[in-house]
Amino acid sequence: MSYDEFESKMDQNFVAVRYNVEVEGAAIKPEEDLDVQNSLPTDEPFRSIALSVLYEDRDASLANVQKALKDKIPPIEIINNGLMKGMDAVNILYNKGFYFLPDLMLAGDGMMEGIKECEKVLGHKSETKGTVVSFVAEGDPHDIGKNMVVMFLRAGGFEAIDMGRDVPIKDVVNAVKEYNPLFMTGTALMTTTMTAFPKIVNEIQKEGLEVPAIGCGGGAVRKDFVESFPMSVYGVEAYHAPKLAEAILKDKKTWKDLRKEYSEIVGEFVSEYS
């Protein structure tokens, strides 16, 4: 019996439908999008800087920023009116489904490169919306989710302290002391490492410290587990992290609020099961 013969008989529509192809919109140039147009700066050198971020061109970003700094443009303005605007545009396209994760990562790299350059001139860290500490649970080597979280936080204008993976509990607690973060994100991919989360909360409480919320997410982590201890909120998608941080920052939401209003805060349906 020949495989090709089978294949030629099939109407795929009764077996598998590639909905992604079906729903795809037309290709456009990034800056043709109306919302992007509205968010991009019109005056130079900010427009070029923003565009180099939008075009995910790390080298161009660096060069443009260096040139602007040489021209005595205040570094704060370069960051806020150039680099961040470019990143805003990237976020717009990501949310619309025109840009994808690699675009964000690369644009983020370009933005970070530019910011570092500005900070050299500033002589200190630039102002951000606030500090978030991100870590992978002790004993856990899986770090891609965390890397994404860090990237999304940075793209959203937060300072994300990346503590890496397999981070001992005491180091996390020390980071709370050191940074007094607005928000914390923990990632664990295994049943046997997510147990670090309640231990961390416990230590934090013992030391009399507090964090508005610790977002706990990653492969094996379950909402019911996360909600079995205080100070925590179950994190679903990496790009939810800045939205959660934003809600804490702007609307003074607590971890209890975040649990209750998660879906509204992140602005999309999230499967619930308890």
């Binding site: 089978f6 294949e7 008989k9 099939m10 109407d11 529509n13 009764f14 077996v15 598998a16 439908v17 590639r18 909905y19 079906e22 729903v23 492969g219 094996a220 379950r222 909402k223 019911d224 349906f269 499967s271 619930e272 099961y273 308890s274």
Partner: protein, 460 residues
């Protein structure tokens, strides 16, 4: 009421998954038994959601939405959501209305956006309790019909139910290995009660764009099957469970005779018999229902299915997603395999592989292999007009099928299975050929022994 006295299928070999003699059309562009198998997903509401209407509505929304998301994410062409109502939903028809509405709205959204074929099966609970106000005309009885109507009026594609008539007697018989009680409970009482229920359900459905789907002998044959358990269990003999299943074929057929058009409900393992007789499409469950229970025919039960179900699973999170996502993917991928077989013209081979995988795993599987199911169907229609005689004939035929397989050394029985089969067949053979005489006998015998049993519930 029309009774089946002839087989709609003329040859067991004509039966195959995804095809029914009489396909069913539903809204949202779904056809059942029309050349493709539809995967089904069913999720039990989480503990606590029964406390308030809001809780239950939110469960229903979440289950449905999760299923929709996964379906488009993996490219399923079609799927069905079944919601089995809990007591509170049926007892409060306004809960049913709101739950059904939110589910049908959600499904419709995806249908509109992706052109995906979707379907919603609502299964109100049979909340009647024989020993409390009987089976007829009680408050509970009325609530069931209101709940059926609330489902039909709020967008359900079809309605099913698991009626419980005769259960008090069959339960007694199953736990005690009493074949006569089982025959009376399933064949006589079950059939009488189904007629009472289904005439009304069909009338209600016909008022709306909602199909009367089907019933299942969950209350009786499945109880036997679950008590029978695995190969090493010792609660109920597997041969007796096989006979109970055959009788269930005669009983569950009544829904169709009253106007149900399918898909017959998933947990009716007797459905292949009824499909053979009547040509209606059926839902079945097997190897993708391991979340709910362990049967001994996980593949075989797919052989002639039209809707492939996971039975039921806790609503919670797996590493691979929430359970509506995970288990729809499970049934969805199996349905995709069957649909590939149909598209390539290999459906009969896959059907036969499914069947042979389990045919000799257990006597319960053996009698449901589609060729044997067909034989049992023939035995039923031969006595089609008499619910008692046809159930008895079904049991005798199932016994004959098992014995033939044993003689040809394909099926091996344990002593327990052997003894209880012989015992049951002896009893069945010696029974009166008059329904009335049998019924009178049984009423006398079992009213005394079974306190819940009330002949008035069956107008006897």
């Amino acid at each position: 009421m029309k009774r089946f006295t002839k087989m709609v299928y003329k040859d067991s070999d004509d039966m195959v998954f995804g095809h029914a003699k009489f396909p069913v059309s539903q809204h949202w562009n779904t056809q059942i038994g029309a050349g493709y198998v539809v995967p089904e997903i069913k999720v039990a509401p989480v503990e606590g959601s029964e406390e308030t209407k809001e809780g239950m509505v939110s469960e229903c929304r979440n289950i449905t939405q999760s299923a929709c998301e996964r379906a488009v994410s993996i490219g399923l062409p079609a799927f069905m959501v079944e919601q089995e109502h809990i007591f509170q939903q049926t007892n409060n028809p306004d809960w049913t209305a709101e739950c059904t509405q939110v589910q049908s709205e959600t499904l419709e959204k995806y249908y509109d956006e992706y052109d995906i074929r979707v379907s919603l099966l609502a299964t109100p609970a049979d909340i009647r309790i024989e020993e409390r106000d009987g089976l007829r005309g009680s408050d509970y009885d009325n609530k069931i019909m209101e709940s059926v109507e609330a489902s039909a009026a709020n967008g359900a594609s079809c309605v099913a139910i698991e009626t419980i008539g005769g259960k008090s007697v069959s339960d007694y018989g199953i736990a005690r290995g009493d074949p006569k009680a089982i025959l009376f409970g399933i064949g006589v009482l079950g059939s009488i009660d189904m007629e009472y229920m289904w005439k009304r359900i069909v009338d209600v459905c016909r008022k709306y764009d909602c199909r009367p789907a089907g019933d299942t002998d969950c209350a009786q044959a499945n109880t036997a099957m679950f008590l029978a358990g695995g190969l090493l269990d010792k609660d109920c003999s597997h041969t007796l469970a096989a006979l109970a299943r055959a009788m269930a074929g005669a009983r569950s057929l009544v829904a169709v005779e009253c106007g149900a058009i399918g898909p017959l409900k998933d947990c009716g393992y007797e459905n292949p018999i009824i499909k053979a007789i009547s040509g209606v499409p059926i839902a079945t469950e097997g190897k993708n229902a391991v979340c709910a229970h362990s049967d001994l025919m996980g593949n075989l039960s797919a052989a002639v299915t039209d809707v492939w179900s996971n039975e039921s699973v806790y609503h919670r999170e797996e590493m691979g997603g929430t359970t509506p996502e995970v288990w729809l993917q499970a049934t969805g991928y199996e349905a995709a395999l069957m649909n590939t077989a149909i598209q390539t013209g290999q459906e009969k081979i896959l059907r036969d592989l499914y069947t042979l995988t389990d045919k000799y795993r257990d006597p319960q599987a053996l009698v449901l292999a589609y060729d044997n199911a067909y034989r049992i169907g023939e035995a039923i229609v031969k006595y089609g007009k008499d619910p008692y005689l046809r159930a008895r004939a079904a049991a005798l035929e199932a016994g004959a099928i098992i014995n033939e397989a044993v003689e040809s050394k394909k099926m091996y029985l344990t002593r327990f299975e052997r003894d209880s089969l012989d015992h049951a067949l002896n009893i069945f053979e010696a029974l009166p050929t008059e329904s009335e005489q049998f019924t009178d006998d049984c009423i006398r015998k079992y009213s005394r022994k079974i306190s819940e049993f009330d002949p008035k519930s069956y107008e006897l």
